[in-house]
């Protein structure tokens, strides 16, 4: 069984993309990749992505997350499944003197994995198969300062980097496939994130701000068989990002959280021309219930819109993309190590006649010597 699972996971990892909605813009926005946060609906401001979340930190904390997902797309009566297995994030937070914290991490920002087939055109047996792997990641380094044991301010520098590789394959009349074009795009950019939080034993609020940033995309188009490759550089200007979160703990066993992410990206530009993106928002609500002192149960819900539109069956039409998500999660203590956090989610994405139901399983292995003395802190 272990061997079978390995084969299946490996096939998923290398064979297929992740979403039918990753083909446009910079790809799908990846929510915070942390199973604890994800179990609560992924409120960004309450996640380790917020450098100002670390009010208390007694020991070095290390966390690494992996993601397995499968998405079933439905359109015009046809269905197709695509999947992915990949590492999602890694983060380190270490206490420093003077109630400071040093933060390091890597996580996904945008995902451009997809894998689609065309239908045969009416008058020929042509068929196309286009698949892409890649995305944009952030290498983060930051510092946080806890104040009075209740407040925390943090600042993150993020270097965005990544790339995607699209393969365009063509099936001719004879049925033979050939790769006709390969488009490789490398991304680079820099940004900051400022975060702050206020936490008590029963109440917490947090905010995160990321200013506008410029992303550079170097595109190499390799037209197979044609001598000259084509190179072009795009300059993508993305407006700021704001995220807010809050939580209350009405009883010792129950905690509730809310999150709001705002991306006013209607002003995004591509080479100084309007990129045609939308202002987007994302709301999330979550609850954590202590089934036993060591085994919490988390549930969450989220709803969001996408910053780009999907194309509709109308040749000139576009439609907004909405996503609803349901989340459930828990943590399993790992003695003398930390915990294994798990979250499962079901996401429903819709735009016109294209619907995608995605199931995801996220695992986060957290190293914390202090897990047994854990006090509830929202989002991590």
């Amino acid at each position: 069984m272990k061997k079978t699972a390995t084969i299946i996971l490996a096939t998923l990892a290398f064979g297929w993309g992740q979403s039918f909605f990753n083909m446009r813009g910079l790809g799908g926005i990846v929510p915070p990749a942390d199973a604890r946060t994800t179990g609560l609906g992924s409120p960004c401001a309450l996640s380790p992505l917020n450098p100002g979340i670390w009010v208390t930190l007694n020991q070095t904390s290390l966390a690494a997350s992996g993601l397995a997902g499968i998405a079933v797309g439905t359109q015009s009566g046809s269905s197709r499944a695509v999947g992915t297995v990949r590492p999602a994030s890694a983060a380190v937070a270490a206490p420093l003197p003077l109630q400071c914290r040093a933060l390091l991490g890597i996580d996904d920002r945008f995902n451009q994995d997809f894998d689609v087939w065309s239908e045969s055109l009416p008058d020929t047996a042509y068929r196309r198969h286009v698949y892409s792997h890649g995305g944009i990641h952030a290498l983060r380094a930051g510092i946080a300062k806890s104040l009075l044991g209740r407040f925390c301010l943090g600042l993150d520098y993020s270097h965005l980097l990544g790339g995607s590789k699209e393969e365009w394959r063509f099936e001719g009349n004879s049925g033979a496939y050939s790769t006709t074009d390969t488009i490789e795009t490398d991304y680079a950019g820099n940004t900051f994130q400022a975060g702050a939080s206020f936490q008590t034993s029963r109440f917490s609020i947090a905010a995160l701000y990321e200013p506008a940033m410029t992303l550079t995309a170097h595109r190499l188009k390799h037209v197979h068989g044609v001598v000259a490759d084509s190179v072009r550089t795009y300059r993508i200007r993305l407006p700021n990002v704001m995220a807010f979160g809050g939580g209350v703990e009405p009883t010792d066993k129950l905690g509730l959280s809310l999150g709001l992410d705002l991306r006013p990206w209607a002003g995004a530009t591509l080479d100084d021309v309007d990129a045609g993106y939308r202002n987007t928002w994302r709301i999330s609500a979550g609850a954590e219930y202590q089934l036993s002192p060591e085994y919490p149960l988390r549930i969450g819900y989220s709803r969001q819109t996408y910053y780009f539109d999907a194309l509709t069956s109308d040749p000139t039409g576009t439609a907004a993309i909405t996503e609803d998500g349901l989340y459930v999660g828990t943590s399993i203590p790992v003695p003398k190590f930390g915990s294994l956090d798990l979250s499962g989610s079901v996401l429903l994405r819709r735009a016109d006649d294209l619907t995608e139901v995605a199931g995801r399983l996220m695992l986060t292995l957290s190293y914390r010597e202090t897990w047994a003395r854990r006090t509830r802190r929202w989002g991590y």
């Binding site: 299946i8 359109q75 046809s78 269905s79 197709r80 001719g172 009349n173 068989g225 044609v226």
Partner: protein, 379 residues
């Protein structure tokens, strides 16, 4: 059972190629077209080509070809003629074809890299096409069996003739109808032609293995009609054609390019006929039969004639067409397109002759499918 279910599920998901979500790439999807074209120009020519790389030598004559074998042995001039009991020519036939032949000393120096029916080397013609020789026969026999040993009149020859054998080798002339083959210097050591010298005085026999050999072959002139488009080895028959591909955009990727024609097999001595397509590197109009071609074949296949004589040859020349369409000058002219040659490969293979129809449904045509580059993700 559980594993079977997992694999079945995996297979179902993996094999599903429904067009879900593809319309999200609308606007990026490039045009794709196919086009069928006939040659803009077409011609055929015959050329004598050196056949020394062959692992076999042909010997015979029929209504289409006459072939002689030319072999040279490293005989030293220090052989003690008085002590020689006998000299034997040892040959190894490739098949069971019986062929009587005679052997005569060659009288002109030759170079195996260039020797053909007409040429002794790269600059010197034979005095008589087919090789120059001393008139006296020095051996004769019938090719048969796996190994043939023929007594060679060597010791009794005049010293001038012996010197000619040492320096110019000997020619084998066929005396029957048909085409026989013997292993040449390219074959394994035990099969190469050799000369064995036996001594009277109890001295051990000496064997001298042939170092160079080639076939001199000619085709009978009345077997080639003017205007025929022919393909064949031996006397190389090559068909040249050029397609105008200017209409295909320079940026297009050639997804497929298939050259097809229905051959008429006129003559063959084997069941599978090796064919190849080579791109020309020089103008055929300027250089004619001497136009250089790319030594690397753009496509090759073994054609097995079907009994219904209705089979069509398909050759994938995608890479060649791509090189034509991708190399343009400032005016858009395809500067690398000098056409292609269809030829036997190797040209020292067993003789055959294919006629390519000029017109009709079996005439050559090139079917090209091409795709334009996709648009960028950001537009």
């Amino acid at each position: 059972m559980r594993r079977l279910v997992w694999f079945s599920l995996l297979g179902l998901v993996a094999c599903n190629t429904a067009p879900v979500g593809f319309d999200q790439l609308r606007g990026r999807i490039p045009a794709a077209q196919d086009t069928i074209m006939a040659p803009d120009s077409i011609a055929s020519y015959a050329r004598y080509v050196p056949l020394s790389p062959a692992d076999r030598l042909f010997l015979g004559r029929d209504s289409y070809y006459v072939a002689r074998a030319l072999i040279r042995f490293p005989l030293p001039d220090t052989l003690g003629i008085d002590t020689i009991a006998s000299v034997q020519l040892v040959l190894h036939p490739v098949d069971s074809t019986r062929m009587s032949f005679v052997c005569r000393p060659c009288s002109t120096a030759w170079d195996s890299a260039y020797a053909t029916w007409l040429m002794a080397d790269d600059a010197i013609h034979w005095y008589s096409p087919g090789g120059d020789f001393w008139p006296d026969s020095i051996a004769g026999s019938v090719l048969t069996g796996d190994t043939l040993k023929v007594d060679l009149r060597y010791a009794e020859l005049d010293s001038t003739v012996r010197a000619a054998i040492r320096q110019q080798g000997m020619l084998l002339f066929p005396r029957d109808t048909g085409l026989a083959a013997i292993w040449s210097v390219g074959a394994s050591a035990s099969l190469k032609p050799s000369i064995r010298v036996n001594y009277r005085s109890g001295k051990n026999p000496q064997t001298f293995t042939a170092t160079v050999a080639t076939t001199l072959i000619d085709t009978l002139p009345n077997t080639i009609r003017s205007g025929d488009l022919l393909i064949g080895p031996g006397v190389a028959l090559r068909t040249w054609m050029r397609f105008r591909v200017d209409s295909i955009p320079e940026a297009a990727t050639i997804a497929s390019a298939e050259l097809e024609f229905r051959p008429d097999v006129e003559y063959r001595r084997s069941d599978s006929l090796p064919l190849a397509v080579h791109g020309l590197a020089q103008s055929f109009a300027d250089k004619g039969a001497y136009a250089l071609y790319d030594p690397l074949a753009a496509a090759s296949l073994y054609y097995v004639p079907a009994s219904d004589t209705d089979s069509i040859i398909h050759m994938d020349i995608r890479g060649l067409v791509q090189s034509w369409t991708s190399n343009r000058d400032s005016t858009g002219r395809d500067t690398a397109n000098y056409g292609l040659l269809i030829m036997a490969e190797p040209e020292w293979s067993k003789p055959f002759r294919i006629r390519v129809p000029r017109t009709g449904p079996g005439a050559p045509r090139l079917t090209i499918e091409y795709v334009m580059p996709p648009e960028d993700r950001f537009r």
